[in-house]
């Protein structure tokens, strides 16, 4: 795990297993530096969450990786190809789910998935059959009963699920998800998380996702990369990040019907002391290590404080 922008993140991933390999990526619009030396890697089957405040460079990074935007400097390899020159065969191996699709409103759900799937058929391999059969795909994203509806008649959450379905219709080896669960109700969100697990476990899909939902990042991501001010300010598993950054844990308990809350850097020692003093009087004990959210807030605050 690293906490400085200077170090590359995920460089412990062996070179041969890197589905995404970004080295010293820089992006400049006019005189404004949006990305100032971003380095990270993702291995096959890994879920990497890209977090960061608005304007941190998340979207720019993901668009460069998708091949939709040219970079100013740095080396980028996505599936062993430079996205800036990736051809149609490369395109067939990646899936993209962006934020603001409103396209194909007049199409029916099944018709659209069937049509877009056709483009992937020539790229099927011995191990990956492309495209994903439409009925199976509809069931996977829970749109079976809406199959014959026009896309414009779908609700926000259904539309989003269709976007995800289109993103995976070509059975991508690498999937980009830009804020995938915005507008989902809790049940739909849970189903979506199950789908992501299925994609990574069964199909060995690598996923790079951006989200503002830290809880979601914690649930889905094997690794979390936090961008701030055009650099990577933290990289590691959710657990590593919360252990390292926020030293203090919160301890709650009741004694004689009264509730107590205390913060301590060494929670284990504090609890041992608590029991030594009060023994059986302690009830409803809870030790809560700082959440990813606390970590994230602290990192971003530090960054903003440092910038000033």
């Amino acid at each position: 795990m690293t906490l400085t922008g200077e170090l590359g993140a995920g460089t412990d991933v062996p070179a041969g297993e890197r589905v995404i390999d970004v080295h010293d990526l820089q992006m400049r619009y006019g005189t404004k530096d949006v990305l100032r030396g971003v380095s990270f890697a993702a291995r096959r089957g890994e879920v990497v969450a890209l977090l960061g405040p608005n304007g941190a460079g998340k979207t720019t990074t993901i668009e460069i990786l998708e091949g939709f935007r040219m970079r100013s400097a740095g080396e980028v390899r996505v599936l062993d190809t430079d996205p800036a020159t990736g051809g149609e065969h490369w395109r067939a191996r990646i899936g993209v789910v962006l934020q603001s699709w409103r396209d194909h409103g007049k199409w029916r759900v099944r018709e659209l998935l069937g049509h877009l799937g056709r483009y992937y058929a020539p790229y099927a391999t011995a191990t990956i059959s492309r495209p994903w059969p439409v009925d199976d795909l509809l069931a996977t994203v829970g749109l079976t009963e809406h199959a014959d509806q026009r896309v414009m008649r779908l609700s926000g959450g259904q539309r989003r699920r269709l976007d995800v379905a289109i993103g995976i219709v070509g059975r991508p080896e690498l999937l980009f998800l830009d804020e995938p669960t915005v507008g989902f109700d809790p049940a739909a969100r849970r189903e979506f998380h199950d789908l992501v697990h299925r994609l990574t476990d069964v199909d060995d899909t690598t996923i790079l996702l951006t989200t503002h939902d830290l809880d979601e990042a914690e649930k889905l991501a094997d690794r979390i990369v936090i961008l701030g001010g055009g650099r990577i300010i933290a990289d590691g598993s959710a657990d590593e990040l919360s252990r390292r950054v926020a030293g203090e844990a919160e301890i709650r308990w009741t004694r004689d019907g009264q509730r107590f809350v205390h913060s301590a850097a060494d929670a284990t020692r504090f609890v041992r002391e608590l029991f030594r003093q009060y023994g059986d009087d302690i009830d409803d004990l809870e030790v809560r290590r700082n959440s990813l959210e606390d970590t994230y807030m602290k990192l971003v605050r530090d960054l903003e404080g440092g910038a000033r």
Binding site: F68, R118, Y119, A121, P122
Partner: protein
Amino acid sequence: MNVAVFRSGVARGGIELRQSLTTVSDLWTYLFPSILLLGTIFFMRDAHVPGTNFSLGASTLPSTFGMGLAFSGLMTVAQLLMVDREDGTLLRAKATPNGMLGYLIGKVVLVGGMCAIGFLLQLVPGLFIVDGLHVGPTGWLTLLWLVPLAFVATMPLGAVIGSLFESPRNMGLIMLPIIGLVAISGIFYPITAMPGWLQAVAQCSPIYWLGLGMRSVFLPDSLAAVELTHSWRHLATFGVLALWSVLGLTLAPAVLRRMARRESGSAVAARRDRAMASGGR
């Protein structure tokens, strides 16, 4: 592989054509111009082409077919491109392997189909309103080169226009000069009655030549007498339309590529935000 892409593109155009025939608002875009034109023809049917006893309505109808071809190639293509860019359809095509090629083939099929349907919606009722239209063997031959050439001369230009303008709300800016060109191109009003310099301007635009070409197909040869230089000028028609084709086909790939290269999620999102800020569509 390319055959597969071509088939996907044709299928795409077919699906979109069917959709346009089952969507009420789209049906209106087919019917509205037809009703308007047929109404005009209806009121013109008893007037005569100056200097002849041929029905003015009957001579206007073929001119409007030419105008319809020009409108389909220029305006429909431009508008579809702008709408598809704004709602993310184009970006979706870009995210799909060979999607852009499939998209463009689909658009050609769609616009060709829409144009043919619009044409039939004017021709069939038109034949009941006016007399004197007739297509001879040479007329059929003319149609065989004129219609494809019309599309090649106008569609790439339409694609260029659609690529240069960001938002479908700018469509008015494009409509205005084109309607101006229609007014001076001898579609509804004989070009011979225009001052010389307007005749010169009109003869630079494909609209005049498409109208003339269509008149040569449907009208008796004696009516060539009321045209400029008293002939149908097939060679000049072919030449001017071919020039526009060369120009369009030279410009369009570069302009389309430039537009496609600029498409990204944030570009679509920014456009959506602007659309919402200006009160949506």
